[in-house]
Amino acid sequence: MTSALQILRLDIGLPLDSGAIFSPLEIGYETWGELNAEKSNAVLICHALTGDQFVAGPNPVTGQPAWWANLVGPGRIIDTNRYFVICSNVLGGCMGTSGPASIGPDGQPYGLSFPVITIADMVRAQAALIDHLGIGRLFAVIGGSMGGMQVLEWIASRPDRVGAAMPIASAARHSAQNIAFHEVGRQAVMADPEWQGGAYQAKGTKPVKGLSVARMAAHITYLSDAALHRKFGRRLQDRNEVAFGFDADFQIESYLRYQGSRFVDRFDANSYLYITRAMDYFDLAAGYNGRLSDAFTAFKGRACVVSFSSDWHYPPADSRHITRAMIGAGVEVSAFEVETDKGHDAFLLDEPQFHEAMAGFLAASAADQGL
């Protein structure tokens, strides 16, 4: 069910929030299933910070299972026999869509000359892809974490183009704590001498140490104290007693080092800077005089807001904030909080309650939209 790696090149000028016009635009994307004759069965899935367009089937680049293979596929909850599923790499990413590692018009990698982008800019690029595919209105837009921010941006800026919206483990604005963690990650990258002021591609180096530390710090925020305790506790790694040194004595240290080292193989350090920046800048209400509900008044579709009880990265309170604003805007909204100790990452895992909610929501939305 893997489709071939596809890159769409659009010679349009994409207007960005920063005022810059970006051109040419390349979009790496994948689709599964068939678009029906009415073009009414398209589901756009928006990926998170370090995700990519390989939402279903095996990921041909990493050789790992796709990040939502448990949810997307034939006969699965997001059923590719029924829906035409689209997922594109975000603007600023490093999996086919234009980003700082892409080669610019001058034949050199953009590096830090790539414009600073926002969540709204990512959605502009997605909309250009949806236009190209000839789809007016999406049956559903679904995404977790940063993907959920894109979902919110879609219904705020393009309310007529979305039938059903599902922001999962997300927030309408980035909290100070989240900006703080991102800043630690960025400083780790920039403190690595191999970063070379962002020009590491031209210099033939790679800031793997810095990016790996950034990933280690971020990874902690995706888990929970309880999950870490259950998985690792204070257990030692391949030894019976502490070694009185700075090797990875504890299993948790070894695990984080492994996560960090694996990440640098598939992710570009500058992309990490740009995308975390876009998330930090996200504050949906700011464009509506600080009234979040005003962002949702034009949206006439259905929404389902999902959160996870032990998620301290995008805690349930952030989701409740979204839900309350939607109620105030008169949006048909459901809100679902999953009881779990798996933290933020729960949205990627087999959480039966979450999957039940998604199935119920999609079935009701399909009935609404005559699908």
Partner: protein, 210 residues
């Protein structure tokens, strides 16, 4: 999707009070049995609010649009006149501020339908009078230290509060031993004696019945 709970006598009366295609908010909607029936039998446009996460999750899994919320706090979120009917079934006695809840319902919907256990029911009075203990009856099944009910009242008490909150009574229906009687236009001392539970259909004062 029917189950035993869906045959609750107050539900039958509430469903009867909802016109076809009405916009309905069920405050304290539990696992969504009533909402589901309103959608099926009245093609109503239904929304729900429920305090328990388990209840909300059950509703969402059924495809109902339900949010977690507390009637005492979160009714304030809804815009004015966003519903034709706001339903509060067997919930008002468990709220902290019943008057506030009624006033919010008055603001949000053109009509309100409220079902509640009646503390003026003869069995309740007799139990307290003869045994000198807090009544435990079919309508009030939990002992005083286990009940979630904070504000029990009689049918006459509620009638007063509804009027004080800006409502006119459209009808009140008596339920005893799980069976409903024909609706009455007004409360009375007799109705207070004979109702184990009552369903009030209320409209904003000064509005003509539709």
């Amino acid at each position: 999707m029917s189950n035993a709970a869906s045959t609750r006598a107050d539900h039958e009366i509430i469903i009867h009070a909802v016109p076809q295609g009405a916009r309905v908010l069920d405050v304290g909607c539990g696992d969504g049995v009533l909402l589901h029936r309103l959608k099926q039998e009245r093609t109503a446009v239904v929304r729900g609010m429920e305090l328990s996460q388990a209840g909300v999750n059950a509703c969402v899994a059924k495809g109902l649009s339900v949010v977690q919320g507390d009637a005492d706090l979160d009714l304030a979120l809804y815009p004015d006149d966003s519903f034709d009917i706001v339903v509060l079934s067997r919930t008002i006695q468990a709220t902290r501020k019943p008057e506030m809840v009624l006033k919010q319902m008055h603001r949000i919907g053109a009509k309100a339908v409220v079902s509640l256990p009646n503390f003026g029911f003869w069995q309740v009075r007799l139990s307290l009078f003869l045994r000198g203990r807090m009544p435990v009856t079919q309508g009030l099944p939990d002992s005083w230290h286990e009940t979630e009910n904070l504000h029990l009242c009689t049918l006459l008490d509620f009638d007063d509060l509804a009027k004080q909150s800006g409502f006119d009574l459209e009808s009140v229906t008596r339920i005893a031993a799980g069976k409903a009687s024909p609706p009455s236009q007004a409360t009375s001392s007799l109705l207070n004696w004979l109702s184990e539970e009552a369903v009030f259909v209320l409209k904003r004062a000064g509005m003509t019945a539709r």
